[in-house]
Symmetry: C2
Subunit: 218 residues, 2 copies
DNA sequence: TGGCTCCTTTTGGTTAGTCAAAAGTTTACT
DNA sequence: AGTAAACTTTTGACTAACCAAAAGGAGCCA
């Protein structure tokens, strides 16, 4: 049996590098998992023994094919649960993450399949992140940072990279919801700002903030 | 934080004696939890130190007020989850128990509240067992064993005590579903049988089987 | 009262996961 | 090249939960 601790290590490795190309530093992994570096090292060693990661001491760690596969399924469970909590149980975008964090380790594949069906086989979760398929494929979209858009572009909001509650509230208050279609009115590199129109309302954003919002061409 | 192991010990103590009146034997508790008696003893000792149970060495163990309270809430979570899996996700009566066994330890009160709402504040789960309220009250019904009913009685099926899959299938096939109203046609103590009519169909049951079915006067 | 059986408790050992602090590497700068 | 800073690994120790097997009551029957 695979413990939830192991699932968390694998999941975070995946989230830090979805393609599993880079060597992730022990300390970085330790930080996101809120454990000491020493704890991470020893867990990495046992993961390596099980063939779930490849460990080059002092250089870093990387998921193996097998490890990545497990991780992807944890992420699938997490995102389906999140979407389920929001769409079916009516919970808030902000409060579902921690809940899903727990549930992802105990819900069976059967339950996930049924939730998936009830949700209509969604491809992306409430944060705009892709939901891996049961086979482990990750649906790709060609996203672009809002900060790279040009005047006149018509795009739809696909993902908000900043999980900060205040930022999410600001986005929500200004109609910058997932799927909302917006038009780029002005772009001023000198003033470091971009002006967009969403649902008739004009909003001015700094380019740094715009860099946290990903959009899809429509 | 209270571990799921502790929750399981408390829950099983509650299920073995819902009123928490008797002293439960260590060995009995160990058996339902599938642990050795020694393991049970040592956990009982730590539970006693936390004030969750009262332990009289060599005589038995009993939930305290506080322990029973926690146990009742675990049971509430379990039963609401079960009902949710059956009614909302369309799972089978038989397959939800193990799933709920896992989920009961991780779902938050918020999620339970929302499920409860979605289900219409049910008072009993798919097995006919009562669902404790958020305050810990246990809705009582005055149930009677089908084997004690007399000719002419009109009753509704409230609970099936036998969890055996074959028995459940037999019951289902003969229209003996939760809530179904039936009439007692004949009762023959010599032949040890009882004849009932449900939805026009007559079914003959041995009194032993009838003793596993509980009914409510209508 | 002794002895027998059944059950409970104790004892000693294991595993997974953690931390704190010591020891060892790498890198980067002079 | 030499050294300090930054990071990683090792070491030793802890906790929760478990098991197997030895030791310790309790009740019963002669």
């Amino acid at each position: 049996m695979i413990s939830s601790t192991v699932e968390n290590y694998l999941k975070e490795l995946f989230l830090l590098d979805p393609r599993s190309e880079k060597q992730i530093a022990t300390g970085e992994l330790a930080k996101v998992l809120c454990v000491t570096p020493g704890s991470a090292t020893s867990m990495i060693k046992t993961l390596a023994q099980s063939g779930l990661v490849e460990h080059r001491p002092h250089y870093g760690v990387k998921l193996t094919e097998q490890g990545r596969n497990l991780a992807v399924h944890v992420v699938r469970r997490h995102r389906i649960v999140e979407l389920f909590l929001v769409n079916i149980l009516g919970m808030d975008w902000g409060e579902v993450h921690d809940e899903a964090e727990q549930l992802e380790h105990v819900v069976s594949d059967d339950v996930i399949t049924r939730m998936d069906e009830l949700l209509g086989h969604p491809t992306h979760d409430p944060h705009g992140d892709p939901i891996p398929t049961p086979e482990g494929e990750i649906p790709e979209r060609s996203l672009q940072l809002l900060s790279f858009c040009n005047e006149g572009d018509n795009v739809a909001i696909a993902r908000i990279g900043n999980q900060d509650a205040a930022f999410l509230k600001f986005a929500e208050d200004n109609g910058l919801l997932l799927g909302a279609s917006i038009e780029i009115k002005h772009r001023n590199d000198i003033a470091d700002s971009i002006t967009i129109q969403s649902q008739g309302k004009e909003v001015v954003l700094g380019l740094a903030a715009a860099g946290r919002i990903e959009v899809e061409d429509v």
